[in-house]
Symmetry: C2
Subunit: 353 residues, 2 copies
């Protein structure tokens, strides 16, 4: 079993916490609600329930924050509509890396929750539940995080050495190939683990950023953000605040899939049929290029990346780094981008018998 | 549903943490090992396992520390001996109050664990798992903690007002009756919840301090410790460091059962048969009255009570309080006591069909 690295969202509920900066992710969950409801109504096929069988739901990469509970509530509402006459008990497992702030998650659990809750530490690229123990798996805004950075991109003897950049998106073909290969391996691990854990007829519901065909990876919002953080890090290196080799040895473990890559992974795995695969309606059609948008993107990017930047570069650079990032965003990104909101793919898979 | 108050053991891994001061509790688990093994070999009767059914184990009141994992390992070893040919997957649920340090628990999970782990926040006096979802429930050194202090003992208009004391053990009959009644209610809640959660043929294995017949509650080690903490608090009140009314309104939510009270609770509940009920072999037969014993008792008492004393009296008094406690122990308790080690009862119950 390969070990997966951990990239926690910023814990606690402070200014830069994920809990306070996950509004966008919540919107993605809201627009997915109808699709989740439809997938459960039409796709879930796990037989009847009785008093000795509860329905197991896992939220993978749950992080900490109100979003987690919203997604689970949406799922439970959909199941209740489907099994009107015989509503099962719900056992909900909140999964994330061991470094996630589970203490905060547990104290935030809604008082009136309609389920038994448990926290499950561990990477979702591993097998984290017993065989056939889950009926519905959900994961939102998590699957673009790789299990780790492909080794060759931080090796200065490799043709895939990603010098001076922290994302594959604006790099050469060798770097892109290395990230693609890592994603392919990770998707195989992810689907293999879920195929074991989910009962026949059970669902795997995934919402994740995607890369539309015909759009270069460097032109999608999430990668543009990472590109600007990388550029801000190089500015800091230019001023001698961080070593250039520190930047060279750092990469965001993120890859944003094309639709055909998702389809190929499901095909290779072979244990799931596709119930639904749709581009999520855009959270916002338009945006106005103003300070509040910049604030929002900075908050979102910082809460999602601090946990991986800090151990590599130290805490001291964070404020300056995100100040430079903010300036670049305001000058460069927001005025030129058609949208600041990353598009997401909705995918519902059913475990074959 | 009544809410249960939370009395966490001291978290983290510092000097006064439960993780660093639970050596005695570990010894209780070690001496229980043989009894657990026998109870599982002879009592567990949950049918065969196959690849679609895992064995659910819950450790209730797990706290944080190496003990938790030891107890679970003992249980798994016993199950593996029993089901030699067809070893199931294990799903282990670590339960404690929501204020328990689950982050530390998760980072402490053994690398080579043979089970899928989950954390479950909530009082074990409530229903915290779905119906019929567990095969073995274990709880060690936890059941003497009540769900709360009976209200009348902190009401100065009640005949059960426990003025100037923090335990029932050295108080009048009214106070003792109030704690007895609370324990009776709590035991009914505990067994009722477990009767729902445990499958027919499944086991509930409990290790807890008990009060031998013929021994006054004030003469058993655990209550003697609490009595001396109460006396130390009154000394602090005498010096004006804490208000006397603060001491009057504080009680340890602990009751140590007699054997017949345990038997009566099982009888009232009616859903369990007794597989085994034994007095645990003593951890130590003798002890020498020296500083290391005093240190050990102070460490153990502080890690177990700080979490409940601090919110009521504030953090500032803790060092002085436990200094006074230490002096009283050395002068009063250790020289006069026959043993400093609390005796424990081992109880294995089987869920009736």
């Amino acid at each position: 079993m390969e070990l997966s690295e951990a990239y926690p969202m910023t814990g606690g509920d402070g200014l830069h916490s994920y809990a306070k900066n996950s509004d966008f992710q919540r919107k993605a969950i809201d627009v997915a609600k109808q699709l989740i409801s439809k997938a459960i109504a039409q796709g879930l096929d796990v037989g009847d329930f009785n008093s000795t069988k509860s329905l197991g739901i896992a939220d993978l990469g749950c992080s900490v924050g109100p979003n987690t509970f919203t997604a689970v509530d949406n799922i439970i509402e959909a199941v209740k509509s489907k099994y009107e006459s015989q509503i099962p008990e719900f056992h909900v497992f909140f999964n994330d890396h061991v470094s996630n702030d589970f203490n905060l998650l547990f104290t935030s659990l809604p008082q009136d929750k309609q389920y038994y809750a448990a926290g499950v530490p561990g990477s979702f690229y591993d097998h984290v539940f017993p065989d056939a123990s889950l009926h519905i798996v959900h994961s939102s805004s998590s699957l673009h995080w790789l299990s780790g950075v492909p080794k060759e991109v931080t090796n200065n003897n490799s043709p895939a050495f990603n010098k001076g950049r922290i994302t594959y998106a604006n790099s050469g073909d060798e770097v892109i190939r290395a990230f693609k290969a890592q994603n392919r391996k990770d998707m195989d691990r992810f689907l293999h683990a879920r195929a074991l854990e989910v009962v026949p007829g059970g669902l795997v519901i995934l919402v994740f950023p995607y890369n539309p065909d015909g759009t270069h990876p460097s032109r999608i919002p999430i990668n543009m953000s990472f590109g600007l953080i990388g550029s801000a890090l190089m500015d800091l290196a230019g001023k001698g605040i961080v070593g250039e080799d520190k930047v060279d040895s750092f990469n965001m473990p993120v890859y944003v899939m094309h639709r055909h890559e998702v389809e190929a992974a499901v095909e290779r795995n072979g244990c799931f049929s596709v119930v639904s695969m749709e581009i999520l309606p855009k959270v916002r059609e338009n945006f106005s290029s103003n300070d509040s948008v910049v604030d929002e993107i900075v908050g979102r990017a910082r809460s999602a990346t601090e946990g991986i930047i800090k151990p590599h570069f130290g805490e001291d650079i964070l404020d300056e780094l995100f100040d430079v990032f903010r300036k670049k965003l305001a000058e460069d990104f927001v005025p030129s981008a058609k949208t600041v909101d990353q598009e997401h793919l909705f995918l519902a898979l059913k475990r074959k018998p």
